[in-house]
Protein backbone atom coordinates (compact mmCIF):
# COMPACT_ATOMS: atom_id res chain seq x y z
CA UNK A 1 0.00 0.00 0.00
CA UNK A 2 1.30 3.41 -0.95
CA UNK A 3 0.03 6.83 0.14
CA UNK A 4 0.68 9.58 -2.42
CA UNK A 5 -0.25 13.24 -2.50
CA UNK A 6 -3.14 13.99 -4.87
CA UNK A 7 -3.66 17.68 -4.11
CA UNK A 8 -3.55 20.33 -1.42
CA UNK A 9 -6.25 18.55 0.61
CA UNK A 10 -6.22 15.05 -0.85
CA UNK A 11 -4.18 11.87 -0.64
CA UNK A 12 -4.55 8.85 -2.89
CA UNK A 13 -3.87 5.38 -1.55
CA UNK A 14 -2.74 2.73 -4.04
CA UNK A 15 -3.53 -0.86 -3.07
CA UNK A 16 -1.83 -2.59 -6.02
CA UNK A 17 -1.31 -2.43 -9.78
CA UNK A 18 -4.58 -4.05 -10.74
CA UNK A 19 -8.10 -4.64 -9.53
CA UNK A 20 -8.95 -7.93 -7.85
CA UNK A 21 -11.40 -9.31 -5.31
CA UNK A 22 -8.75 -8.97 -2.58
CA UNK A 23 -7.91 -5.37 -3.48
CA UNK A 24 -11.60 -4.51 -3.68
CA UNK A 25 -12.25 -5.97 -0.22
CA UNK A 26 -9.24 -4.11 1.20
CA UNK A 27 -10.45 -0.82 -0.25
CA UNK A 28 -13.89 -1.36 1.26
CA UNK A 29 -12.35 -2.11 4.67
CA UNK A 30 -10.18 1.01 4.35
CA UNK A 31 -13.27 3.11 3.51
CA UNK A 32 -14.93 1.94 6.74
CA UNK A 33 -11.81 2.53 8.86
CA UNK A 34 -11.32 6.00 7.41
CA UNK A 35 -14.96 7.00 8.01
CA UNK A 36 -14.50 6.06 11.65
CA UNK A 37 -11.08 7.55 12.26
CA UNK A 38 -11.30 10.78 10.26
CA UNK A 39 -14.82 11.71 11.36
CA UNK A 40 -15.55 15.35 10.49
CA UNK A 41 -12.09 15.96 8.97
CA UNK A 42 -13.25 13.88 6.02
CA UNK A 43 -14.76 15.71 3.04
CA UNK A 44 -15.23 12.86 0.56
CA UNK A 45 -13.87 9.51 -0.60
CA UNK A 46 -13.54 8.05 -4.09
CA UNK A 47 -12.88 4.31 -4.15
CA UNK A 48 -11.81 3.02 -7.54
CA UNK A 49 -10.24 -0.10 -9.11
CA UNK A 50 -7.08 -0.27 -7.02
CA UNK A 51 -7.03 3.11 -5.29
CA UNK A 52 -8.85 5.28 -2.80
CA UNK A 53 -8.87 9.08 -3.00
CA UNK A 54 -9.24 10.71 0.43
CA UNK A 55 -10.27 14.37 0.49
CA UNK A 56 -9.95 16.14 3.82
CA UNK A 57 -10.99 19.46 5.33
CA UNK A 58 -8.08 21.90 5.57
CA UNK A 59 -9.98 24.01 8.10
CA UNK A 60 -10.25 21.09 10.49
CA UNK A 61 -6.98 19.28 9.97
CA UNK A 62 -3.71 19.39 8.06
CA UNK A 63 -1.77 17.06 5.74
CA UNK A 64 0.71 15.72 8.30
CA UNK A 65 -2.01 14.67 10.75
CA UNK A 66 -4.12 13.11 7.98
CA UNK A 67 -1.21 11.06 6.69
CA UNK A 68 -0.73 9.69 10.22
CA UNK A 69 -4.43 8.83 10.55
CA UNK A 70 -4.36 7.14 7.13
CA UNK A 71 -1.35 5.00 8.04
CA UNK A 72 -3.18 3.73 11.12
CA UNK A 73 -6.43 3.13 9.20
CA UNK A 74 -4.55 1.10 6.59
CA UNK A 75 -2.41 -0.91 8.97
CA UNK A 76 -4.45 -4.08 9.41
CA UNK A 77 -5.87 -4.74 5.95
CA UNK A 78 -3.75 -7.81 5.09
CA UNK A 79 -6.16 -10.12 6.85
CA UNK A 80 -9.29 -8.80 5.10
CA UNK A 81 -11.48 -11.61 3.72
CA UNK A 82 -11.41 -11.42 -0.08
CA UNK A 83 -14.92 -12.87 -0.29
CA UNK A 84 -16.31 -9.99 1.78
CA UNK A 85 -18.83 -7.66 0.17
CA UNK A 86 -22.59 -7.69 -0.01
CA UNK A 87 -24.13 -9.91 -2.72
CA UNK A 88 -26.66 -8.15 -4.97
CA UNK A 89 -28.56 -9.95 -7.74
CA UNK A 90 -29.65 -7.96 -10.77
CA UNK A 91 -32.31 -9.41 -13.09
CA UNK A 92 -31.60 -9.19 -16.83
CA UNK A 93 -33.83 -9.74 -19.84
CA UNK A 94 -31.28 -11.08 -22.36
CA UNK A 95 -32.53 -11.19 -25.95
CA UNK A 96 -31.79 -9.83 -29.39
CA UNK A 97 -34.62 -7.38 -28.79
CA UNK A 98 -33.03 -6.00 -25.62
CA UNK A 99 -29.37 -6.75 -26.44
CA UNK A 100 -28.58 -5.80 -30.05
CA UNK A 101 -24.88 -6.66 -29.71
CA UNK A 102 -25.34 -10.26 -28.51
CA UNK A 103 -24.74 -11.57 -32.04
CA UNK A 104 -21.51 -9.65 -32.52
CA UNK A 105 -20.13 -10.90 -29.22
CA UNK A 106 -21.12 -14.49 -30.02
CA UNK A 107 -19.43 -14.30 -33.43
CA UNK A 108 -16.34 -12.78 -31.95
CA UNK A 109 -15.99 -15.54 -29.35
CA UNK A 110 -17.07 -18.23 -31.84
CA UNK A 111 -19.82 -19.31 -29.43
CA UNK A 112 -23.61 -19.26 -29.52
CA UNK A 113 -25.79 -16.44 -28.24
CA UNK A 114 -27.02 -18.79 -25.49
CA UNK A 115 -23.39 -19.32 -24.46
CA UNK A 116 -22.83 -15.56 -24.19
CA UNK A 117 -25.88 -15.27 -21.93
CA UNK A 118 -24.82 -18.26 -19.81
CA UNK A 119 -21.25 -17.09 -19.43
CA UNK A 120 -22.37 -13.59 -18.40
CA UNK A 121 -24.52 -15.09 -15.64
CA UNK A 122 -22.13 -17.76 -14.50
CA UNK A 123 -19.84 -15.67 -12.37
CA UNK A 124 -19.85 -13.12 -9.66
CA UNK A 125 -18.61 -9.59 -10.42
CA UNK A 126 -17.20 -6.90 -8.19
CA UNK A 127 -18.23 -3.24 -8.20
CA UNK A 128 -14.76 -1.84 -8.85
CA UNK A 129 -15.75 1.79 -9.21
CA UNK A 130 -18.70 4.15 -9.52
CA UNK A 131 -18.31 7.18 -11.74
CA UNK A 132 -18.54 8.54 -15.29
CA UNK A 133 -22.18 9.38 -14.55
CA UNK A 134 -24.31 9.23 -11.39
CA UNK A 135 -24.90 5.57 -10.53
CA UNK A 136 -22.67 4.11 -13.25
CA UNK A 137 -20.99 1.05 -11.63
CA UNK A 138 -18.02 -0.58 -13.34
CA UNK A 139 -18.16 -4.35 -12.74
CA UNK A 140 -15.30 -6.74 -13.38
CA UNK A 141 -14.14 -8.94 -14.77
CA UNK A 142 -16.08 -10.70 -17.50
CA UNK A 143 -14.91 -14.01 -18.95
CA UNK A 144 -12.46 -13.49 -21.81
CA UNK A 145 -14.76 -15.38 -24.19
CA UNK A 146 -17.37 -12.58 -24.01
CA UNK A 147 -14.98 -9.62 -23.67
CA UNK A 148 -15.46 -7.13 -26.51
CA UNK A 149 -13.92 -3.77 -27.39
CA UNK A 150 -16.02 -0.60 -27.33
CA UNK A 151 -17.94 0.24 -30.50
CA UNK A 152 -15.98 2.21 -33.09
CA UNK A 153 -18.88 4.65 -33.24
CA UNK A 154 -20.69 5.12 -29.93
CA UNK A 155 -24.49 5.06 -29.98
CA UNK A 156 -26.23 8.41 -29.59
CA UNK A 157 -28.72 6.90 -27.22
CA UNK A 158 -28.36 3.87 -24.96
CA UNK A 159 -31.54 3.10 -22.99
CA UNK A 160 -31.72 3.19 -19.21
CA UNK A 161 -31.07 -0.28 -17.79
CA UNK A 162 -28.96 -1.45 -20.74
CA UNK A 163 -26.61 -4.23 -19.64
CA UNK A 164 -23.37 -3.79 -21.48
CA UNK A 165 -19.84 -5.08 -21.96
CA UNK A 166 -16.65 -3.15 -22.77
CA UNK A 167 -13.39 -5.08 -22.76
CA UNK A 168 -13.50 -7.14 -19.57
CA UNK A 169 -15.97 -4.87 -17.79
CA UNK A 170 -19.71 -4.97 -17.59
CA UNK A 171 -22.24 -2.37 -16.39
CA UNK A 172 -25.88 -1.36 -16.28
CA UNK A 173 -26.57 2.12 -17.73
CA UNK A 174 -28.26 4.15 -14.96
CA UNK A 175 -29.88 6.62 -17.35
CA UNK A 176 -30.40 7.23 -21.04
CA UNK A 177 -27.08 8.44 -22.40
CA UNK A 178 -24.72 8.18 -25.34
CA UNK A 179 -22.51 5.11 -25.00
CA UNK A 180 -19.99 2.91 -26.75
CA UNK A 181 -20.41 -0.34 -24.82
CA UNK A 182 -21.82 -3.55 -26.35
CA UNK A 183 -25.45 -4.09 -25.32
CA UNK A 184 -26.55 -7.61 -24.30
CA UNK A 185 -29.75 -7.12 -22.32
CA UNK A 186 -31.92 -4.86 -20.17
CA UNK A 187 -32.19 -4.71 -16.37
CA UNK A 188 -35.44 -3.44 -14.81
CA UNK A 189 -33.70 -2.37 -11.57
CA UNK A 190 -33.08 1.39 -11.38
CA UNK A 191 -29.33 1.84 -10.82
CA UNK A 192 -29.76 5.47 -9.78
CA UNK A 193 -32.93 7.02 -8.42
CA UNK A 194 -32.44 10.37 -6.67
CA UNK A 195 -35.89 10.06 -5.10
CA UNK A 196 -34.94 6.88 -3.26
CA UNK A 197 -32.72 6.29 -0.26
CA UNK A 198 -30.32 4.65 -0.88
CA UNK A 199 -30.38 5.97 -4.40
CA UNK A 200 -28.27 3.08 -5.72
CA UNK A 201 -28.85 -0.67 -5.21
CA UNK A 202 -25.07 -1.30 -5.20
CA UNK A 203 -21.93 0.29 -3.78
CA UNK A 204 -18.23 -0.08 -4.47
CA UNK A 205 -16.94 -3.44 -3.20
CA UNK A 206 -20.29 -5.26 -3.55
CA UNK A 207 -20.51 -8.63 -5.31
CA UNK A 208 -22.97 -8.75 -8.21
CA UNK A 209 -24.72 -11.65 -9.92
CA UNK A 210 -26.92 -11.41 -13.00
CA UNK A 211 -30.03 -13.56 -13.25
CA UNK A 212 -31.91 -14.10 -16.54
CA UNK A 213 -35.62 -13.17 -16.58
CA UNK A 214 -38.22 -13.46 -19.29
CA UNK A 215 -39.74 -10.64 -21.29
CA UNK A 216 -42.92 -10.89 -19.17
CA UNK A 217 -40.97 -10.75 -15.90
CA UNK A 218 -38.97 -7.80 -17.20
CA UNK A 219 -42.14 -5.86 -18.02
CA UNK A 220 -43.79 -6.89 -14.73
CA UNK A 221 -40.78 -5.53 -12.82
CA UNK A 222 -41.24 -2.14 -14.41
CA UNK A 223 -38.91 -2.56 -17.38
CA UNK A 224 -39.64 -0.60 -20.56
CA UNK A 225 -38.99 -1.71 -24.12
Amino acid sequence: MKIEIAGQNAFIVYFGDQASATVSAQIQAAVNNIYNSMADCLVDLVPSYASLLVIFDLDRSEPFAIRRILRAALSDLDTVDASAGELVTLPVYYSLESGPDLEVIAERGNISIEDVIDIHQQQEYRVYAIGFAPGFAYLGEVDERIAAPRLATPRQKVPRGAVAIADRQTAVYPAVSPGGWNLIGLCPTRMFDPARNPSMPVKAGDRIRFDAITREQFLAQGGEL
Partner: protein, 311 residues
Protein backbone atom coordinates in the same frame (compact mmCIF):
# COMPACT_ATOMS: atom_id res chain seq x y z
CA UNK B 1 -42.68 31.88 -1.19
CA UNK B 2 -42.03 35.13 -2.98
CA UNK B 3 -38.65 36.00 -4.46
CA UNK B 4 -37.31 37.07 -7.84
CA UNK B 5 -38.74 36.55 -11.31
CA UNK B 6 -36.27 35.76 -14.09
CA UNK B 7 -36.91 38.14 -17.01
CA UNK B 8 -33.74 37.23 -18.96
CA UNK B 9 -31.80 34.19 -17.79
CA UNK B 10 -28.35 35.17 -19.09
CA UNK B 11 -25.94 32.74 -20.73
CA UNK B 12 -25.16 30.43 -17.85
CA UNK B 13 -26.82 31.39 -14.57
CA UNK B 14 -26.60 28.59 -12.01
CA UNK B 15 -27.72 28.34 -8.41
CA UNK B 16 -24.97 27.15 -6.07
CA UNK B 17 -24.16 26.69 -2.45
CA UNK B 18 -20.60 25.76 -1.43
CA UNK B 19 -20.92 22.38 -3.18
CA UNK B 20 -21.99 18.77 -2.82
CA UNK B 21 -19.79 16.72 -0.52
CA UNK B 22 -19.98 13.06 0.48
CA UNK B 23 -21.76 11.95 -2.72
CA UNK B 24 -18.72 10.87 -4.75
CA UNK B 25 -19.61 7.29 -3.85
CA UNK B 26 -22.67 7.66 -6.12
CA UNK B 27 -20.57 9.14 -8.88
CA UNK B 28 -21.83 12.67 -8.14
CA UNK B 29 -19.36 15.50 -8.54
CA UNK B 30 -18.83 18.48 -6.21
CA UNK B 31 -20.19 21.42 -8.16
CA UNK B 32 -20.20 24.64 -6.15
CA UNK B 33 -19.07 28.14 -7.17
CA UNK B 34 -16.06 28.21 -9.49
CA UNK B 35 -14.82 31.34 -7.72
CA UNK B 36 -15.52 30.49 -4.10
CA UNK B 37 -13.72 33.65 -2.96
CA UNK B 38 -16.24 35.97 -4.66
CA UNK B 39 -19.06 33.66 -3.55
CA UNK B 40 -17.91 33.78 0.09
CA UNK B 41 -17.77 37.58 -0.02
CA UNK B 42 -21.33 37.76 -1.34
CA UNK B 43 -22.59 35.85 1.67
CA UNK B 44 -20.31 37.69 4.09
CA UNK B 45 -21.44 41.16 2.94
CA UNK B 46 -25.05 40.09 3.59
CA UNK B 47 -24.20 38.47 6.95
CA UNK B 48 -25.48 35.18 5.52
CA UNK B 49 -24.56 31.65 6.46
CA UNK B 50 -21.35 30.75 4.57
CA UNK B 51 -23.20 27.99 2.67
CA UNK B 52 -26.22 30.11 1.66
CA UNK B 53 -27.28 29.65 -1.98
CA UNK B 54 -26.21 32.38 -4.42
CA UNK B 55 -26.54 32.72 -8.17
CA UNK B 56 -23.40 32.18 -10.26
CA UNK B 57 -23.83 34.40 -13.30
CA UNK B 58 -21.64 33.01 -16.08
CA UNK B 59 -20.70 35.78 -18.54
CA UNK B 60 -23.79 37.89 -17.69
CA UNK B 61 -26.96 38.94 -19.48
CA UNK B 62 -29.29 38.47 -16.50
CA UNK B 63 -32.43 40.48 -15.73
CA UNK B 64 -34.51 39.91 -12.62
CA UNK B 65 -37.58 41.49 -11.10
CA UNK B 66 -37.88 41.61 -7.32
CA UNK B 67 -41.22 40.48 -5.90
CA UNK B 68 -40.39 41.44 -2.31
CA UNK B 69 -38.20 43.77 -0.26
CA UNK B 70 -34.78 42.45 0.59
CA UNK B 71 -31.05 43.14 0.40
CA UNK B 72 -28.65 41.92 -2.28
CA UNK B 73 -25.05 42.16 -3.39
CA UNK B 74 -23.15 41.38 -6.60
CA UNK B 75 -19.52 40.26 -6.37
CA UNK B 76 -17.07 38.55 -8.74
CA UNK B 77 -16.63 39.51 -12.38
CA UNK B 78 -17.01 43.21 -13.21
CA UNK B 79 -20.16 43.74 -15.21
CA UNK B 80 -22.41 46.76 -15.75
CA UNK B 81 -25.10 46.43 -13.06
CA UNK B 82 -28.29 48.47 -13.03
CA UNK B 83 -31.10 48.82 -10.57
CA UNK B 84 -34.17 50.34 -12.27
CA UNK B 85 -31.85 51.65 -14.97
CA UNK B 86 -29.40 53.35 -12.58
CA UNK B 87 -25.82 52.09 -12.50
CA UNK B 88 -24.88 50.54 -9.16
CA UNK B 89 -21.61 49.38 -7.59
CA UNK B 90 -20.65 45.77 -7.01
CA UNK B 91 -19.17 44.42 -3.76
CA UNK B 92 -21.69 46.54 -1.86
CA UNK B 93 -24.96 45.38 -0.34
CA UNK B 94 -28.07 47.43 -0.99
CA UNK B 95 -31.85 47.39 -0.74
CA UNK B 96 -34.20 46.19 -3.41
CA UNK B 97 -38.00 46.56 -3.35
CA UNK B 98 -40.89 44.64 -4.86
CA UNK B 99 -41.21 45.64 -8.52
CA UNK B 100 -37.58 46.76 -8.89
CA UNK B 101 -35.68 45.64 -11.99
CA UNK B 102 -32.13 44.35 -11.55
CA UNK B 103 -29.88 43.95 -14.56
CA UNK B 104 -26.42 42.39 -14.76
CA UNK B 105 -24.82 43.00 -18.16
CA UNK B 106 -21.94 41.15 -19.79
CA UNK B 107 -18.70 40.81 -17.83
CA UNK B 108 -15.84 43.10 -18.83
CA UNK B 109 -13.28 41.63 -16.41
CA UNK B 110 -13.65 38.11 -15.05
CA UNK B 111 -16.25 35.60 -16.23
CA UNK B 112 -18.38 34.78 -13.19
CA UNK B 113 -20.36 37.25 -11.08
CA UNK B 114 -22.22 36.21 -7.94
CA UNK B 115 -25.58 37.52 -6.83
CA UNK B 116 -26.38 37.00 -3.17
CA UNK B 117 -29.63 37.86 -1.40
CA UNK B 118 -30.29 38.21 2.30
CA UNK B 119 -30.66 34.69 3.75
CA UNK B 120 -29.79 33.08 0.41
CA UNK B 121 -32.09 31.65 -2.24
CA UNK B 122 -34.36 28.99 -0.85
CA UNK B 123 -33.62 25.88 -2.90
CA UNK B 124 -34.46 22.34 -1.85
CA UNK B 125 -31.12 20.50 -1.52
CA UNK B 126 -30.41 17.36 -3.58
CA UNK B 127 -27.89 15.02 -1.97
CA UNK B 128 -27.22 17.67 0.66
CA UNK B 129 -26.60 20.60 -1.68
CA UNK B 130 -28.42 23.13 -3.87
CA UNK B 131 -25.53 23.26 -6.37
CA UNK B 132 -26.56 22.86 -10.00
CA UNK B 133 -24.60 20.34 -12.07
CA UNK B 134 -25.92 20.40 -15.64
CA UNK B 135 -24.23 17.14 -16.69
CA UNK B 136 -25.95 15.30 -13.83
CA UNK B 137 -29.23 17.25 -14.05
CA UNK B 138 -29.08 17.70 -10.29
CA UNK B 139 -29.52 20.71 -7.96
CA UNK B 140 -30.84 24.22 -8.52
CA UNK B 141 -34.17 24.36 -10.35
CA UNK B 142 -34.79 21.08 -12.28
CA UNK B 143 -31.03 20.48 -12.37
CA UNK B 144 -30.90 23.12 -15.09
CA UNK B 145 -29.60 26.63 -15.75
CA UNK B 146 -32.04 29.51 -15.24
CA UNK B 147 -34.74 30.00 -17.87
CA UNK B 148 -36.89 33.03 -18.54
CA UNK B 149 -39.97 32.89 -16.31
CA UNK B 150 -38.22 30.95 -13.51
CA UNK B 151 -38.93 31.98 -9.99
CA UNK B 152 -36.09 32.25 -7.46
CA UNK B 153 -37.59 31.90 -4.00
CA UNK B 154 -36.12 33.80 -1.08
CA UNK B 155 -37.38 35.45 2.10
CA UNK B 156 -38.08 39.14 2.57
CA UNK B 157 -35.51 40.94 4.71
CA UNK B 158 -35.67 44.01 6.86
CA UNK B 159 -33.66 46.88 5.50
CA UNK B 160 -30.75 47.41 7.85
CA UNK B 161 -27.02 48.01 7.76
CA UNK B 162 -25.18 47.81 4.47
CA UNK B 163 -21.63 46.66 3.97
CA UNK B 164 -19.03 46.97 1.25
CA UNK B 165 -15.63 45.53 0.60
CA UNK B 166 -12.92 48.17 0.49
CA UNK B 167 -11.83 48.78 -3.10
CA UNK B 168 -8.23 47.87 -2.35
CA UNK B 169 -9.42 44.41 -1.26
CA UNK B 170 -11.42 43.66 -4.38
CA UNK B 171 -9.79 41.24 -6.79
CA UNK B 172 -8.37 42.34 -10.11
CA UNK B 173 -8.94 39.43 -12.47
CA UNK B 174 -6.82 40.54 -15.43
CA UNK B 175 -5.74 38.15 -18.16
CA UNK B 176 -2.90 36.22 -16.61
CA UNK B 177 -2.29 34.15 -13.51
CA UNK B 178 0.32 32.11 -11.73
CA UNK B 179 -1.17 28.76 -10.77
CA UNK B 180 0.43 27.08 -7.78
CA UNK B 181 0.61 23.30 -8.05
CA UNK B 182 1.12 20.60 -5.45
CA UNK B 183 2.99 17.80 -7.25
CA UNK B 184 1.24 14.49 -6.88
CA UNK B 185 -0.52 11.53 -8.49
CA UNK B 186 1.64 10.30 -11.44
CA UNK B 187 4.20 13.11 -11.13
CA UNK B 188 7.04 10.55 -11.03
CA UNK B 189 6.03 9.43 -14.53
CA UNK B 190 6.94 12.90 -15.85
CA UNK B 191 10.74 12.93 -16.11
CA UNK B 192 12.73 16.02 -14.99
CA UNK B 193 12.90 17.43 -18.52
CA UNK B 194 9.12 17.17 -18.94
CA UNK B 195 8.55 18.76 -15.53
CA UNK B 196 10.99 21.54 -16.40
CA UNK B 197 9.07 22.24 -19.61
CA UNK B 198 5.77 22.25 -17.78
CA UNK B 199 6.86 24.66 -15.07
CA UNK B 200 8.84 26.95 -17.38
CA UNK B 201 6.36 27.47 -20.20
CA UNK B 202 3.45 29.77 -20.67
CA UNK B 203 0.06 28.22 -21.43
CA UNK B 204 -2.97 29.85 -22.91
CA UNK B 205 -6.61 29.17 -22.14
CA UNK B 206 -8.36 27.62 -25.14
CA UNK B 207 -12.03 28.27 -25.81
CA UNK B 208 -12.77 24.81 -24.43
CA UNK B 209 -12.98 25.90 -20.81
CA UNK B 210 -16.08 25.04 -18.83
CA UNK B 211 -17.19 24.02 -15.35
CA UNK B 212 -15.74 20.51 -15.89
CA UNK B 213 -12.27 21.52 -16.93
CA UNK B 214 -10.08 24.22 -18.46
CA UNK B 215 -8.13 23.06 -21.51
CA UNK B 216 -4.86 24.87 -22.02
CA UNK B 217 -2.48 25.02 -24.95
CA UNK B 218 1.26 25.45 -25.05
CA UNK B 219 4.40 23.36 -24.78
CA UNK B 220 3.72 19.60 -25.05
CA UNK B 221 4.43 17.54 -21.95
CA UNK B 222 4.64 13.75 -21.95
CA UNK B 223 4.65 11.07 -19.29
CA UNK B 224 5.98 7.52 -19.39
CA UNK B 225 2.55 6.13 -18.51
CA UNK B 226 1.26 3.76 -21.18
CA UNK B 227 -2.04 3.03 -19.51
CA UNK B 228 -3.45 3.32 -16.04
CA UNK B 229 -6.51 2.35 -14.04
CA UNK B 230 -9.16 5.00 -13.52
CA UNK B 231 -8.85 6.67 -10.15
CA UNK B 232 -10.41 9.45 -8.07
CA UNK B 233 -9.81 13.02 -9.25
CA UNK B 234 -9.60 15.98 -6.88
CA UNK B 235 -10.25 19.67 -7.61
CA UNK B 236 -7.52 21.27 -9.69
CA UNK B 237 -5.97 17.98 -10.84
CA UNK B 238 -3.90 18.60 -13.99
CA UNK B 239 -4.58 15.84 -16.45
CA UNK B 240 -2.19 15.45 -19.37
CA UNK B 241 -3.56 13.17 -22.10
CA UNK B 242 -1.52 11.77 -25.01
CA UNK B 243 -1.63 15.07 -26.93
CA UNK B 244 0.53 16.59 -24.18
CA UNK B 245 -1.80 19.56 -23.53
CA UNK B 246 -2.86 20.05 -19.90
CA UNK B 247 -6.44 20.17 -18.65
CA UNK B 248 -7.13 21.61 -15.20
CA UNK B 249 -10.12 19.78 -13.75
CA UNK B 250 -12.64 22.02 -12.06
CA UNK B 251 -15.76 21.76 -9.86
CA UNK B 252 -17.94 19.69 -12.23
CA UNK B 253 -15.16 17.20 -13.16
CA UNK B 254 -15.99 13.52 -13.45
CA UNK B 255 -15.16 11.81 -10.17
CA UNK B 256 -12.84 9.20 -11.74
CA UNK B 257 -10.58 9.22 -14.77
CA UNK B 258 -7.71 7.35 -16.32
CA UNK B 259 -5.30 9.98 -17.66
CA UNK B 260 -1.94 10.73 -16.01
CA UNK B 261 -1.88 13.75 -13.72
CA UNK B 262 1.21 15.75 -12.73
CA UNK B 263 -0.35 17.30 -9.62
CA UNK B 264 -3.15 19.65 -8.64
CA UNK B 265 -3.65 23.41 -8.72
CA UNK B 266 -4.55 24.76 -5.26
CA UNK B 267 -8.19 25.76 -4.74
CA UNK B 268 -7.48 29.50 -4.48
CA UNK B 269 -5.77 29.46 -7.87
CA UNK B 270 -8.55 27.35 -9.42
CA UNK B 271 -10.84 30.21 -8.40
CA UNK B 272 -8.48 32.70 -10.09
CA UNK B 273 -8.26 30.52 -13.21
CA UNK B 274 -12.05 30.32 -13.44
CA UNK B 275 -12.25 34.11 -13.87
CA UNK B 276 -9.92 34.11 -16.90
CA UNK B 277 -11.13 34.20 -20.50
CA UNK B 278 -9.86 32.20 -23.50
CA UNK B 279 -6.49 33.53 -24.65
CA UNK B 280 -5.41 34.46 -21.10
CA UNK B 281 -1.92 33.32 -20.12
CA UNK B 282 -1.00 31.16 -17.15
CA UNK B 283 2.19 29.72 -15.69
CA UNK B 284 2.47 26.87 -13.24
CA UNK B 285 4.61 26.97 -10.12
CA UNK B 286 5.39 23.90 -7.98
CA UNK B 287 4.90 24.27 -4.24
CA UNK B 288 4.99 21.75 -1.38
CA UNK B 289 1.86 20.50 0.35
CA UNK B 290 3.04 22.35 3.48
CA UNK B 291 3.31 25.64 1.55
CA UNK B 292 -0.15 25.00 0.14
CA UNK B 293 -1.45 24.53 3.67
CA UNK B 294 0.15 27.81 4.76
CA UNK B 295 -1.34 29.65 1.79
CA UNK B 296 -4.78 28.25 2.63
CA UNK B 297 -4.53 29.29 6.29
CA UNK B 298 -3.26 32.76 5.45
CA UNK B 299 -6.07 33.35 2.93
CA UNK B 300 -8.62 32.09 5.45
CA UNK B 301 -7.27 34.33 8.20
CA UNK B 302 -7.24 37.35 5.87
CA UNK B 303 -10.81 36.67 4.83
CA UNK B 304 -11.98 36.43 8.43
CA UNK B 305 -9.99 39.46 9.60
CA UNK B 306 -11.00 41.76 6.78
CA UNK B 307 -13.89 43.68 8.25
CA UNK B 308 -16.43 44.90 5.68
CA UNK B 309 -17.02 48.64 5.85
CA UNK B 310 -20.38 50.02 6.83
CA UNK B 311 -21.85 52.09 4.06
Amino acid sequence: MSGFLVRQPGLLSLLHDRGRYGAHKLGLTTGGPLDFVAFDWANRLLENDANATCLEIGFGGLQLEAQLDTRFVITGASAPCKLNGDTIDQWQSRDIHAGDQLEIGFASAGTRAYLGVSGGFNIEPSFGSSSTVLREKIGGLRGDRLQAGDHLPCAAAKQSQHYQLDEAQRPNYGDEARLRVVLGYQQAAFDPIQQWRFFNSEYRLTDRCDRMGFRLEGENVHSDMVSMLSEGICLGAIQIPADGQPIVLMNDRQTIGGYPKIGSVIALDCARLSQLSPGSRVRFEAISIEQAHNIHCLARARFLRTVPELC
